[in-house]
């Protein structure tokens, strides 16, 4: 990655984190206030397109920034985003690599599910919620909602060929 790439991704993260913190509550669904995770989408994208290290480091920094901005549970988003970015790195393919390629949507769902299993299983410790309740009400819904947004983003980026710009 060139230095300009770092700047570009940092700006992307800044915009998405800002949107995540301020605007996404407007499109929250279900009585559990489930919102899509745009920041996680970018972390997964970096993991897939650039590998483990890019996924992990971007996940850690973005998660830590969200933790600091939310001010509630420092380190929790950093941990879950780091692991998610690392898992996404497993689906990274170099140009010309002919090994099996996976569906982008499936990868997003898998990585988001892993991210939110870690996040919510720690977040709801001591709350009385059971593991199935946490998975059904929070993990799967958030992962699905994020995947929908990922699918839409993929369509938009493909249609307007925006991928090349990032």
């Amino acid at each position: 990655m060139f230095f300009s790439d770092y700047i570009k991704f940092a700006l992307f993260f800044a915009v998405l984190i800002f949107a995540q913190v301020t605007l996404l509550n407007l499109i929250a669904i279900s009585r559990y206030n489930i919102t899509p995770d745009l920041v996680l989408l970018l972390v997964i994208y970096l993991g897939i397109s650039r590998g483990h290290i890019a996924g992990m480091i971007s996940g850690f920094l973005a998660g830590l920034t969200l933790d600091i901005l939310s001010g509630s549970f420092t380190g929790l988003a950093a941990l879950s985003y780091t692991v998610s970015g690392f898992v996404a790195g497993y689906f990274h393919r170099e140009p010309g690599d002919s090994s099996v390629k996976f569906s982008f949507i499936g990868i997003i769902f898998l990585c988001a599910a892993i991210c939110y299993i870690i996040y919510f299983s720690i977040y709801f410790q001591g709350s009385g919620l059971t593991i199935p309740e946490i998975i059904l009400n929070y993990v799967l819904t958030t992962a699905a909602y994020t995947t929908v947004f990922g699918f839409m983003s993929n369509l938009i980026f493909n249609k307007f060929d925006l991928k090349k710009s990032i």
Partner: protein
């Protein structure tokens, strides 16, 4: 070195992941909220359960170490116990001694026995007080139980006393009940006896023998012993065996009474008997 470098390069992704996860966990556990308190409680419970399970398996080295520690502790405690027992016994003895002092016996010197003999014909005790403590020859030695003997030699800081079990010590005594008089001495064979008691004298087993007012050296009324046996000596006299009031075998502290023979009386009696001869 190169191999290690290559190996580290190969697993760099995992090393970075571990590093970031550790940092994240450190940040997470630096929080102080309900979730972390719950996780800490769970962690403590899990660790406690594991440790409890592991404690079933004995650690040989730990046991050996503990065993050594306990042995040392045992010796230390045994020493302490011995010291405390000694202190307790001393406390009892001194309390009894102080009790005697409270009986208004004026002019007493407390002394500790530093040496004693009990198996010879002329037994003595050595005391840790001497001239510097105002001890003088012929002063009586007693305990709260009764008569012990008489000081016969004094140095600056020590003195020697003849005890009842000394053939050279004769004590003028009286039967407390029947007021029969006699001279008590040691027969050299382990008995304190009163010889030459008239056969008709009223002496019974169990009678208490005390010092007589006829004695030049001892104040009257000090317990000496108890009659344990009486037997005929010849046609006219009988022999009375006395068990001493004082237990000489475990005797450790005594009193020296500042009581000296009355010189005037001695002089008078001496001059009269010389004239009479």
């Amino acid at each position: 070195m190169k191999t290690i470098g290559l190996l580290l390069f190969r697993i760099k992704d995992y090393l970075i992941l571990t590093f970031l996860v550790v940092i994240s966990l450190l940040l997470i556990f630096s929080n102080d909220n309900v979730q972390i308190r719950f996780l800490r409680a769970v962690a403590v419970g899990v660790v406690g359960t594991v440790q409890s399970g592991m404690s079933v398996v004995p650690n040989v080295f730990e046991i050996q170490k503990e065993n050594e520690f306990l042995r040392e502790k045992n010796i230390q405690l045994a020493n302490e116990l011995s010291t405390l027992k000694e202190a307790k016994l001393e406390n009892i003895r001194l309390s009894r001694t102080l009790g005697l002092k409270d009986k208004n016996i004026s002019g007493v010197i407390i002394a500790r026995i530093v040496n004693k003999s009990l198996v010879q014909a002329r037994n003595t005790i050595t005391l840790n007080v001497g001239e510097s403590d105002s001890v003088k020859v012929n002063m009586p030695v007693i305990t709260d139980d009764g008569l012990v003997g008489r000081v016969v030699s004094v140095s600056k800081n020590y003195s020697i006393a003849q005890i009842l079990y000394n053939r050279n010590l004769n004590v003028s005594v009286k039967n407390q009940r029947s007021r029969v008089d006699g001279i008590l001495n040691y027969d050299g064979a382990g008995n304190l006896v009163i010889n030459n008691v008239p056969k008709s004298a009223d002496v019974k087993q169990g009678d208490i023998i005390i010092t007589s007012p006829y004695s030049n050296y001892f104040p009257a009324g000090v317990p000496v012993g108890t009659v344990v046996e009486e037997g005929n000596l010849d046609n006219l006299f009988k022999k009375v065996v006395v068990d001493p009031s004082v237990s000489f075998t475990d005797l450790e502290e005594v009193f020296i009474l500042k009581h000296l023979p009355e010189k005037e009386r001695i002089d008078l009696e001496s001059s009269y008997f010389k004239k009479d001869k």
